[in-house]
Amino acid sequence: MRRSTRVAALCVGFFVSYHAAAAESPQRWVSAGGALSEWISALGGESKLVGVDTTSQHPESLKALPSIGYQRQLSAEGILSLRPQILVGTEETGPPPVLSQVRSAGVQVELFSAQPDLPTLQGNLQRLGKLLGADDQASQVFQAYQQQLDQQKIRVTRAQLKGKSPGVLLLLGHAGGKPLIAGKDTAADWLLQQAGGHNLATHTGYKPFSVESLVSLDPEVLVFADRALTGDAARAALFKENPILSSTRAAKDGRVMELDPTLLVGGLGPRLPDAMKKLSDAFYPDSAGQ
């Protein structure tokens, strides 16, 4: 008898506290996804983050937060030790047994799609806005984003009417050595196309390339993303490790562009329109500044 009242009281207690928690937005967030962390910061939720994964590199201040490791190899207890109320991630976040352990500990787990298209982004931002209690901000941010991409599209279409799209190759490397070339079905390919470039590589995924075939494709623009170096150091390393690149048209015309490799993972992020605009500036120098 006494026991059953106790159980009933416990159940009621759980019920009430559950509803109370659901009514107010979660205050302690853990994010496992680079673009998601950026969006959370963009929506003013950075102060709520108590931990991020290793792909969350922007904004710079996130690096000071405890790291929960790589997004596909999370540890349940590690996450729980941060006492989060919510864990957000993409469909890559895992492994699945860890997610269910985190869930069973009463942490809300919200997974978002990392598909690089606008409807997905709109849905994601709406959900994030609701969870952060920043609905209005989320829709404003999305509209501004959409506008930027629309302008970008108009600009590219106009430029393509005037002239042929330039042939481009994107090299993903580590301190210049043995670069991988971005082919079809990659975030890099999508980005190049949106910026109005014609990706000369026809394979799928990121693959190593023989230097000879690279030169024979003779790209008009080279885009490189280096994981270890940035700026002139990365450029110098690239040409030092692959001297044959200097014979391409892109190198002779000085059309060698740098791209932040963190833009290539985790779906559409807030820094993407700027990067795209810079790429278009390089692809269509005549239309720059429009």
């Binding site: 931990g51 290793t54 405890p66 790291s67 929960i68 490791g69 790589y70 596909r72 190899q73 999370l74 540890s75 349940a76 207890e77 590690g78 996450i79 729980l80 030790s81 941060l82 890559e92 492994p95 699945p96 047994p97 860890v98 269910s100 352990q101 069973s104 500990a105 079905d185 990659t186 799928t204 995924g205 990121y206 693959k207 993972v265």
Partner: protein
């Protein structure tokens, strides 16, 4: 070879070490629980009726995260070390490890097929999905080992040297097939493959645990019964035969137990190197080559080593965690060198 420790002292020491490892593995983790709560939650888990006030979190972390992880560590560590003894006994060579008969490379190939070819398996029912990787790894290990064993047989006899060379050849072949899958993989699957190859006890759940526990318990009970036969085999195959031991049957059992045990361990926790090679060595350096001691002592030592390695793996970078394969070699190798040099002096 001198015996540093008497068997009885060794067993008492190892059992204490193992109990300590189990307790630490249950008591320590990124979430710091008060010791008293851990103790009460542990008692509740074994069925002692204690009021559950305020114990929900401790019970969840202990019951759902740390206990399955500890059991997984015990089983994997024990069975890897035991298979190491079996292989070193079979090849009569202390440099042998379970990888020699192709079970590790076969499992890696199975895993690569499952990870990279994942989209092909997309049509399978949801509930089966998470087990495809483990199942493929297990079957890959078993399949390649069976092939190595077949290649080593001629006229009803198993030639250990032929088997060794066949194992090396098939390991190379499987390695190049894994390389091909690595080439075909996209970025995300590539990282999954890399992490799988480093092993981890992370995300252990009971549903994945039972098959491994059953298999490793079976192997751990069976192999020590063959200790005397393994001792005789140390003298040479024909000598063992003259001592009345069915050498062909013994070889078959050793290969089968290794394939089964290592296959199941690798399927559950990924590739964890070093334990199978070095734990038998450690025990041999301490207590001599008698298999009656070596077999059970290796189980205890392997299980303890893996639990300690896992503690480092989960605490060193908390809240993130290290793959355990990195840690086993990192703590085991210096200790091994120390014993080796001390034994020589």
């Amino acid at each position: 070879m001198t015996i540093l420790v008497k068997p009885r002292a060794l067993f008492i020491g190892l059992i204490l070490l193992c109990v300590l490892a189990i307790w630490l593995s249950l008591a320590l983790g990124p979430v710091s629980l008060p010791l008293f709560d851990t103790l009460r939650a542990a008692l509740r888990l074994v069925g002692v009726p204690i009021a559950p006030d305020g114990l929900e979190q401790a019970e969840l972390i202990l019951g759902q995260i740390r206990l399955p992880r500890t059991l997984l560590g015990l089983a994997v560590g024990g069975v890897l070390a035991l298979s190491g003894v079996a292989m070193q006994g079979l090849f009569r060579n202390p440099l042998a490890d379970p990888g020699l008969v192709g079970v590790s490379s076969g499992a890696a190939l199975g895993a690569a097929i499952a990870i990279v070819g994942g989209s092909v398996f997309g049509g399978l029912p949801e509930s089966f999905g998470p087990y495809v990787l483990s199942l493929c790894a297990f079957l890959g290990g078993l399949g390649v080992t069976a092939l190595v064993y077949r290649l080593g047989r001629r006229n009803g006899q198993t030639h250990v040297a032929t088997m060794l060379l066949a194992g090396i050849a098939l390991t190379a072949l499987a390695g190049s097939a894994v390389g091909l899958f690595t080439y075909l993989a996209d970025d995300a699957t590539l990282r999954t493959l890399t992490f799988w190859n480093l092993g981890s006890l992370n995300g252990a759940s009971y549903s994945r645990l039972w098959p491994l526990l059953l298999i490793s318990a079976g192997v751990a009970l069976w192999l020590p019964r063959r200790a005397k036969a393994l001792n005789a085999l140390l003298l040479g195959e024909s000598e063992a035969g003259h001592l009345g031991i069915d050498v062909e049957r013994l070889k078959r059992e050793l290969v089968f137990c290794t394939a089964l045990g290592v296959g199941a361990a690798v399927a559950a926790a990924g590739m964890i190197g070093f334990v199978g090679l070095v734990v038998p060595h450690l025990v041999r350096l301490l207590a001599g080559p008698d298999h009656r001691v070596l077999l059970p002592a290796s189980v205890l030592a392997g299980a303890s080593l893996l639990l300690f390695a896992d503690l480092v793996a989960r605490l060193a970078l908390a809240p993130a965690e290290l793959p355990i394969g990195i840690v086993t070699a990192f703590i085991g190798a210096p200790f091994f060198l120390y014993l080796l040099l001390r034994g020589r002096a």
